[in-house]
C-alpha cells in the first residue's frame, strides 16, 4: 500500500512524507508505545545537529563540542536505560549484595540500530562531513525509514544524504529492488528458518543427551541460520530501499569464504564494524599508537561490539574472543609477511567462527562449557535414530542449499546466465519460484522473528 501511495504522488517532499508516515505506522505496529521514544530520539539529534552547525558557523567550536557530547549522552543514555539498565542492576546487586529493583523495561525494537544511525548523523555534522538537515521531516524519514529501521543495516546519513533530497526512481532500479527483496525473503524463510529448526532443537536439548554429531550439526545450522537470517533481512532492506529510490551499502560479503578472522569481519555485518571503526576505534587512535594502546583499543572496541549485540556477559565474552583472535592474527603477521596455506587457514577460520557462535548462542557459562564438551564428544555420540526421533532428516538437504548459498556461486551463475539470450526469463521464473516457495513456508511456519530484531 505504501509503495502504491508512494508512486502516486509526484513531489519528493510528498514521497518523503508518505515514507515517514508509513514507517511510523510500521514501527508502531510492533511498538505502539516506544514509537514516542524513537521520535524523541529524532528530535534530540535534529536540534543538537542544528545547534552544532549554527555554533560552528559562528566559530564557537567549544559550544558545538558541548552540544555533540550532550547529544551522545542523551543517545547513549536512552540506550543504557532501555537496553542495559537491568543488566547493570543485576550485576550491581550481585557485586554489592544489594537488591535494587529491576527496571523491567521491554527492549524497544531496533533501538540499537536507530540510535547508532542518529549518532552517526550528529557526529558527521560536527565533523562537517555532511550538511546539517534543516528539514525535520527529511531527517525523520532517514531515521525512521522502515526497510532498515528494526534490523539494519546501519545506514549512515552520509550514504543517502543526496538521495533524501534528490533521487531518481527508475523501473530497472525497482526491478532490482524487487529481485533483492525476494532473494532476501527466500534466504530468511527457506534457509534460515529451516536451519533454525535444527539449531533450536540441538541447543534446546538437555546437554547430557547432546552427542558430538548433533552438536556439530546444530552449531553449523546455527551459523547458517544467523547468516541467512541477518543477510536475508539486509537484502530485503536494501531491496525495499531500492524500490523507494535509495541505495544502501552492502552489509555482507560472503563471510563464510573468509580465510582469516580479519577478513571475516570485513565481510560480516559491515555496517556495524565500519561504524565502530569510524566512530570509536579511529578516534581512540586506531593502530597509530603504541602497541599496548593499540591492543587496548581493539579490546575496547570488541567488548563494545559484543555488548551492542545484547546486555549479557556471553556477548561481551564473544566480543573479547574476537579481539583476542584479531590481536593474535596481527601479532602473527606484523612485519613478517607470513601467509598460511588456504588448506589450513580456511578450516581454521571457520572452526574459530563456529566456536564464536557457541559463545554467542549459549546464554550461560555452563551452557558454553557443556556445548563445548559436546563438540569434543564428551557426552558420546548420537545414534542416527535420534535424527529420526527429532525429525531432522528432511532438513539435511537444506545444509547443501545453505553451503552453496553462502558462496558467490549462485551470483556467478546468474551473471554467466545473463549473457544468454533468454536469461531474464529464467531469472524471473526463478524469482517467482522463490517467492511462491517462501509463501508456502511462511504459511506453514510458526512465528519466526529475525534474530537481529532483539539487538
Amino acid at each position: 500500500v505504501i509503495i502504491v501511495a508512494y508512486y502516486l504522488v509526484r513531489s519528493l517532499s510528498a514521497k518523503n512524507l508518505i515514507l515517514f508516515i508509513g514507517s511510523i505506522i510500521f514501527y508502531a505496529w510492533g511498538e505502539p508505545v516506544y514509537v514516542v521514544l524513537m521520535i524523541l530520539s529524532i528530535f534530540n539529534d535534529y536540534f543538537h545537529a542544528r545547534g552544532i552547525a549554527w555554533f560552528q558557523s559562528h566559530d564557537k567550536q567549544n559550544v558545538a563540542k558541548g552540544l555533540l557530547i550532550s547529544s551522545i549522552v542523551v543517545n547513549l543514555g536512552l540506550l543504557s536505560v532501555f537496553k542495559y539498565g537491568d543488566f547493570f542492576l543485576v550485576n550491581l546487586n550481585r557485586l554489592t549484595g544489594m537488591s535494587y529493583d529491576l527496571l523491567n523495561l521491554a527492549l524497544p525494537v531496533g533501538i540499537s540500530f536507530y540510535t547508532f544511525q542518529t549518532m552517526s548523523y550528529t557526529i558527521d555534522v560536527y565533523r562537517q562531513k555532511v550538511q546539517v538537515q534543516r528539514n525535520f521531516l527529511t531527517l525523520a524519514t532517514y531515521v525512521a525509514m522502515f526497510p532498515q529501521l528494526i534490523a539494519g543495516p546501519i545506514v549512515r546519513y552520509a550514504t543517502i544524504e543526496q538521495e533524501l533530497s534528490q533521487r531518481q526512481i527508475s523501473w530497472p532500479d525497482m526491478y532490482e529492488g524487487v529481485k533483492r527483496f525476494i532473494i532476501g525473503l527466500g534466504k530468511k524463510v527457506i534457509i534460515a528458518n529451516q536451519m533454525a529448526i535444527i539449531a533450536d532443537a540441538v541447543f534446546g536439548m538437555g546437554y547430557e543427551t547432546r552427542g558430538v554429531s548433533l552438536a556439530w550439526a546444530g552449531l553449523i545450522a546455527y551459523a547458517f541460520q544467523i547468516y541467512f537470517d541477518f543477510s536475508g533481512y539486509s537484502d530485503m532492506a536494501i531491496g525495499l530501499g531500492r524500490i523507494f529510490g535509495f541505495h544502501f551499502l552492502e552489509n555482507f560479503d560472503y563471510p563464510y569464504i573468509s580465510r582469516s578472522i580479519t577478513e571475516f569481519w570485513r565481510r560480516w555485518h559491515i555496517s556495524l564494524s565500519t561504524w565502530f571503526r569510524d566512530y570509536v576505534y579511529i578516534p581512540l587512535g586506531g593502530n597509530r599508537v603504541r602497541q599496548q594502546r593499540w591492543f587496548f583499543n581493539i579490546f575496547l572496541v570488541w567488548a563494545l561490539t559484543g555488548l551492542w549485540h545484547g546486555a549479557a556477559w556471553n556477548f561481551v565474552i564473544w566480543g573479547l574472543y574476537y579481539a583476542t583472535l584479531l590481536v593474535i592474527e596481527k601479532l602473527w603477521s606484523i612485519g613478517k609477511g607470513r601467509k598460511v596455506p588456504v588448506a589450513i587457514s580456511y578450516p581454521l577460520t571457520m572452526l574459530l567462527v563456529l566456536f564464536g557462535w557457541v559463545l554467542f548462542r549459549s546464554e550461560t557459562l555452563f551452557g558454553i562449557i557443556t556445548y563445548s564438551l559436546s563438540l569434543v564428544g564428551y557426552f558420546g555420540n548420537n545414534p542416527l535414530v535420534q535424527w529420526t526421533q527429532m525429525n531432522l532428516i528432511y532438513l539435511l538437504p537444506f545444509y547443501g542449499i545453505a553451503i552453496i548459498g553462502s558462496t558467490p556461486l549462485p551470483n556467478l551463475i546468474i551473471e554467466e546466465q545473463s549473457r544468454l539470450k533468454y536469461s531474464r526469463i529464467f531469472v524471473d521464473l526463478f524469482l517467482a519460484a522463490v517467492f511462491i516457495i517462501s509463501m508456502m513456508f511462511l504459511i506453514n511456519s510458526s512465528f519466526n522473528p529475525f534474530i537481529y530484531y532483539r539487538f
Binding site: 502504491v4 538437555g206 546437554y207 545414534p383 535414530v385 529420526t388 509463501m439 504459511i443 506453514n444
Partner: protein, 470 residues
Amino acid sequence: LRNRLFVILFVTVALILGIFVLVIKEKPATSILENRSLAQLTPFSAASWLDGTFQSSVENTMADHFIGRDHWVRQYNMMQISLNTFMNKGMNWLSLANVSSPSNPNTQDANPTVGNQTGESTTDGTGNSSESENQPTGTSSPENKPSDDIMTFLQDLDDPKEAFNQSAQVNISPLTNQLNLLQIDNQKMLVKTSKIFDQKALDTTSQSIQFINQLKLDTSFDISAFFVQTPQESHLVYPTNNINSILPVIDQLDVPYDYLAINRPSDLLDNYYRTDHHWNHIGSYKGYRQIIKLLFGDEEAIKVPNQIVYFNSLEFYGSLFRLSGNAADIKPDILTYLEFSLPNYQIEIDGASEAQYGNLQDYLDDDAPNAIGFDHYNNLYENRQALITFETENSDADTLLVICDSMSNAIKPLIASHFHRTHFVDLELMKKLDPHFEVEEYMEDEDLDRVLFFLSFDNLMPGGSMQYAK
C-alpha cells in the same frame, strides 16, 4: 517493459494476498485439515492496539485465512514427505529389532470377569437408555459383530494374535517435521515426533510427580494415578526414549499407580489407531481394566462389553493423518466402539447440562460427517472439554475427580458408571475456563472422595497439561 511487468505483477500479487484476506467477510472458524480453530480479527480499539492483541489478530488472521491455505499446507507437507523419502532412499535410518523390552514393574494386565451385566439398563454411552441389553445397537450401516466375538476379544487382550510376529522389525521413516511412518511387518502406522527423554523431561516429570505426592501429603483424599504410554513414548519406536529412564521418576509416586505399557510390536498395532494419536477400543478397554483394578483392587467390578461396533462405512483418517496435511500414504482406520450396559447419567459439560456425551447416534444413523481427516475420535465420544461431570443414581458409590487428557474420552462414561459423581477435568482447558482452579480446593468445594490422575506420559513432561496443576 519486462522490468515494469515484473514489478507491477509483484506489487499486485502482494496487495491482493495482503488485503484480500482482511476484507473477505466469510472466514471459516475451524480448519478440518489442521484440526484447530482459526484466528479471527479482534475489533480495533486503542487498548487492543496498545497491548498488541489487534496486531497479533491481524497477523494470525492473514496467516490462517491465506488464499488457498489448505492447498499450501498440503504442498508443504508433501514437500517434507518427498524430502524424507529422498533422504531415506537406500538408507535405513533405524533398525530396531531385538530392542529389549522393559517390564511393567507394577501390574500385569487384569483378567476381566464376565458378568455384572444384569440389573442395569443398556445405554449407548450417551446417557440415553435403550430397551434391552446385549442387543446390537447398530443399524444396517455399521457392521455389528456377534456377541460371541466378545469372548474372542477378551481372550485376545491377554494373548495377542499368534499370527503376529512379536519379534517383528519396527522400521521408522520420517514424513514431516511432526510425523514419522512406522512399518511393522509391512503394516503401516503413523506416529508423532517424540519429546526427548532428557534431563529436562525427567525434571519436569519429577515435578509432576511431586505435585501428586504433595497433594497426598496435604490432604486425606484417596489418590491414584494411571498413565498411558503412547507410541511416541515407546522405546520400540524411538530407542533413545527408553521408558526405563522415566520409570524411576514415576516410581517416586507415593500413591498407587499403574500404566498401560507398550512392551511388544503388537501393542502398538493393537492398541492404537494407525492414523490417529488416540487408542482404539482395544487399548482403551485395556486401560479401563487396569484403572478399575487400580481403583477397586479387584477385577470383579470390571465391566464387559456387549458388542464391538465397527463403522465400516467411514474412512477414518485421524489426527496424525491430518498432521501430514492429508498427504501420508496410508490406509484409513476403521472407527470402532465398544458398547456397554451403563446406567443413566446426568451430564454437565463446562457447567451446562447436556443430554448426551458425544455423538454416537449420528454414527449409528450413518449420519456422521465423512470428510477426509474429520476428527471422528473426538466427535464420536466428546470433544476435549475443560470439565465434564457424570452423575448416576447410585448415591452409595464414591465420588471421583479425574485429572485427564483426551485419552479418557473413550472411557469416561465407563469409568463414571462405577461412581456416584465423576468429574473429569482437563487442566489445560480448565486454565481458560477457571484460571483459579486448584485441585484441593475443588475437591473440597465439590465434596469429592477420590482423585485419579489419568494422563499420557507426555502430559507429565515439558509442555504437558500437568504444568497447569495447582
